[in-house]
Structures are given as C-alpha cells and as structure tokens.
C-alpha cells in the first residue's frame, strides 16, 4: 500500500504533537516555537478555559517554581507545571491575546508608547529581581502587548537557557545586570531611527560590555528614562552646553515667554513715555 506525501506530512505532524494523556488539557493548535520549546493553545477541561501550554525540550529546574511564584501585572502567570508521558516537561500559563513587541513596534506606535512598554517590562524585571529571579532571555519575542495596552513578559528563563545573542550580555555568568543589558537592547530595538541622543545613550549605557558601567539595576535604567521624559538631564549622557540650553528653553518655554512679555511691556511703556 502506497502512502501519499500529504498523508506522510500529516502523520509526521501528528506524531510531533505532545501526548497530553493523563493531563487535564486538550490540545488546540501550535502558536509559537522557540529555542526552549513549543507553545500550544490548549483547553483546560477542568476549569473550562483556554491556556497557553509550553512543552520544553529539557527538564524543568527548581527555578520554575520560583518563577511560578512571581505575581506581577506584567508577568504572565504560570498555572501548572508537569511532565508528559514521553518525559518532556510542560507548563501552562495565561493565554495572552495581543501582539509580540516586534510586531507591535512595526505598527509605528509613538515614542511615548514605546517607552511605556519598556517601563512596564522594566518594572516586571525589577520586581522579579527583588524575588531572586532573572529572565535570562529578554527579547521582543518574549514581550506581548495586549489589545488594551497591557504588557506581559513571558518565557522567564530557566538555567538551560543561554539567551538570544543580540540581547545576551557578554557575561560569564548571567545575573541581574545581564537582564539590565537585555533591557537596554530591548529599548534599542524599539526606538525609531531618529531618536534624541539622550535616549540612545540610555540604551548604550545599559548595553555596556563592562558590567560596572551599566545601570546597577532595572529601576536605575527606568529612572533615567523618567528623567528623559521629564526633560531633565539623563545620567547616561553628558550633554553639550547648546543642548542643555535648548532643553532648558523647551522645559521652561512658558516662563521664558512670560518674562519676555514683561520685558516687552516695560520697554513699550518706556518708549511711550519718551515719545
């Protein structure tokens, strides 16, 4: 009996699907594939809800439990971890409807909106760091922006993950400052082509190959972004005098106009009196 190519393809596809026998989940469809494993949408029969189910290519370390305990509005909550009949580890998490950050940025959101997303990611990192967890693989593909603007950081790293090259710090051992590097790289990746030098300098400082020259933590990086948004001098950039004057002018434009108006009024009165 001959088997057609399409039947063979179908059999290969079915054979690759995870066997969820013995779990409370029912497989729906594949929604993503990455270095750590494959993500599927699945239905939780017990709670009658849709979840994201990630099947890993390696065993889960104890760190997964640590990550599962992270409770933050910008961290995708993990519902359950387990092992499939074939021995592969899996975990389920909230199914996020939205766009990956790289796709979201392709829609040309405003600079303020891009920075808002970075701030949410940075807050999630700062929170996780206080709990002793690090991400290890922060990149646009691991950040989702929901349809109502909510931001979620996903795929919190386990020990087996080495990070994505362009977002990975050149550190021998990954720690919080490695996440700061990745956050800087993330900021760099979302910035439009023409961007104020102060903002570019923030990303460059965060991505310094010298660990000591980076921001000490995610909060320090966010504080510098805040300073930029408020029109203040940023820690990452020693600005030239003309730039400082321009920033002062734009920051105090109303006050300068009012003072100019006062001077104009006084001059006018002086000339009216003279002539």
């Amino acid at each position: 009996m001959e088997i057609s190519d399409s039947v063979l393809d179908h059999l290969r596809h079915v054979a690759a699907l995870p066997d969820l026998t013995g779990t409370r989940y029912e497989l729906e469809t594949e929604i993503g594939r990455g270095g750590m494993g494959v993500v599927y949408s699945a239905r939780d029969r017990q709670l009658d809800r849709r979840v994201a189910l990630k099947v890993l290519d390696f065993a889960l370390a104890g760190e997964a439990q640590l990550i599962a305990r992270l409770e933050h509005p910008a961290i995708v909550p993990i519902h359950e971890t387990g092992t499939l009949p074939d021995g592969r580890a899996f975990y389920t998490m909230k199914l996020v409807a939205g766009a990956r950050l790289d796709h979201y940025v392709a829609g040309s959101p405003s600079l303020a909106e891009r920075l808002r997303v970075i701030r949410r990611v940075g807050e999630a990192l700062a929170y996780a760091h206080t709990r002793g967890a690090i991400h290890r693989d922060l990149k646009p593909q691991n950040v989702m922006v929901g349809q109502f603007g909510e931001v979620y950081v996903m795929d919190w790293g386990v020990d087996a993950v080495a990070g994505t090259p362009e977002f990975r710090a050149p550190d021998a051992r990954l720690d919080q400052r490695s996440d700061v590097f990745a956050l800087g790289a993330l900021l760099q990746s979302v910035l439009p082509e023409s961007v104020p030098p102060a903002l570019r300098a923030i990303a460059i400082k965060a991505m310094s190959s010298d660990r000591a020259a980076r921001y000490p933590d995610a909060s320090a990086l966010l504080a510098d972004i805040d300073r930029f948004e408020q029109g203040l001098a940023v820690e990452a950039w020693s600005e030239p005098l003309w730039h400082r004057l321009r920033r002062f002018g734009s920051r105090n434009a109303v006050m300068l106009w009012l003072l100019a108006a006062y001077a104009a009024v006084r001059l006018l009165l002086f000339f009216l009196r003279t002539f």
Partner: protein, 122 residues
C-alpha cells in the same frame, strides 16, 4: 512648601521688583519706597489668591489666566488710588501688573505642594 506660601513669596518678590522699576521714571523716583511697598502688598494679595486657586485647580493654563485676571484687577485698584501729576497711571500699572499676575499664576501651578484635602462628610 504649599502653593499658597509659594504664591505669597512669589507675589511679594515679583511685586517688589516690579515696583522697583519705578526708579527708571524720575518723576516718581522720590516715592520709590512707597511704590515698592504698595506693589509688594498687591503682589502678596494676588499671590495668595492664585496660590489658593492652584490648590483647588490643577491647570497651568487656568493658573495663568486667573493669575493675570487677579493681577489686572488689583493693578486697576492701585492705579485708581494713585495719581501722578493729577493723572491715574492705569496703563503704567495695569499692563505690568497683568503680566506679573500671569507669572505668579504660572509659578503657583508649577511649584509647591497642594495643601491637605478638605475633609469630606462621612
């Protein structure tokens, strides 16, 4: 520092500076001290009122509008009470008073902290 105090200080200082510009007018130079004191008191009243307004309304635009309105009003009252060579200097006092009021209104919106919220009914 609360906004009313900011308004008071800005009003007094800017009022005094505004009054000091009378030095450029030889015909009133002899009355410089009196003008400066009067101008400071006018600034004080305008500052307190705009500070009180800034406590109630958080809007730079409205702060400038209300500050300039108070500045104009009190400058009018001062000009109506003043007389130089039998003439009321409305233009000379009201025009700068209007702008100084606007500056005080702006400063009370941008600086200082809001006073304690009014206690609501339980």
């Amino acid at each position: 520092m609360n906004k009313i105090l900011v308004g008071l200080l800005c009003g007094v200082i800017l009022g005094a500076i505004d009054g000091a510009t009378a030095w450029f007018y030889p015909e009133v130079r002899s009355m410089l001290t009196g003008i400066m004191v009067g101008s400071s008191i006018k600034g004080l009243i305008v500052g307190v009122l705009t500070g009180w307004f800034a406590n109630k309304v958080q809007s730079t635009t409205w702060g400038v509008v209300v500050g300039s309105a108070f500045g104009l009003l009190f400058a009018f009252l001062v000009a109506a009470m003043s007389s130089v060579n039998g003439r009321h200097p409305y233009l000379e006092i009201m025009l700068p008073g209007f702008v100084v009021g606007a500056i005080v209104g702006f400063l009370t919106q941008r600086t200082g902290t809001q006073g304690p919220a009014t206690k609501g009914a339980l």
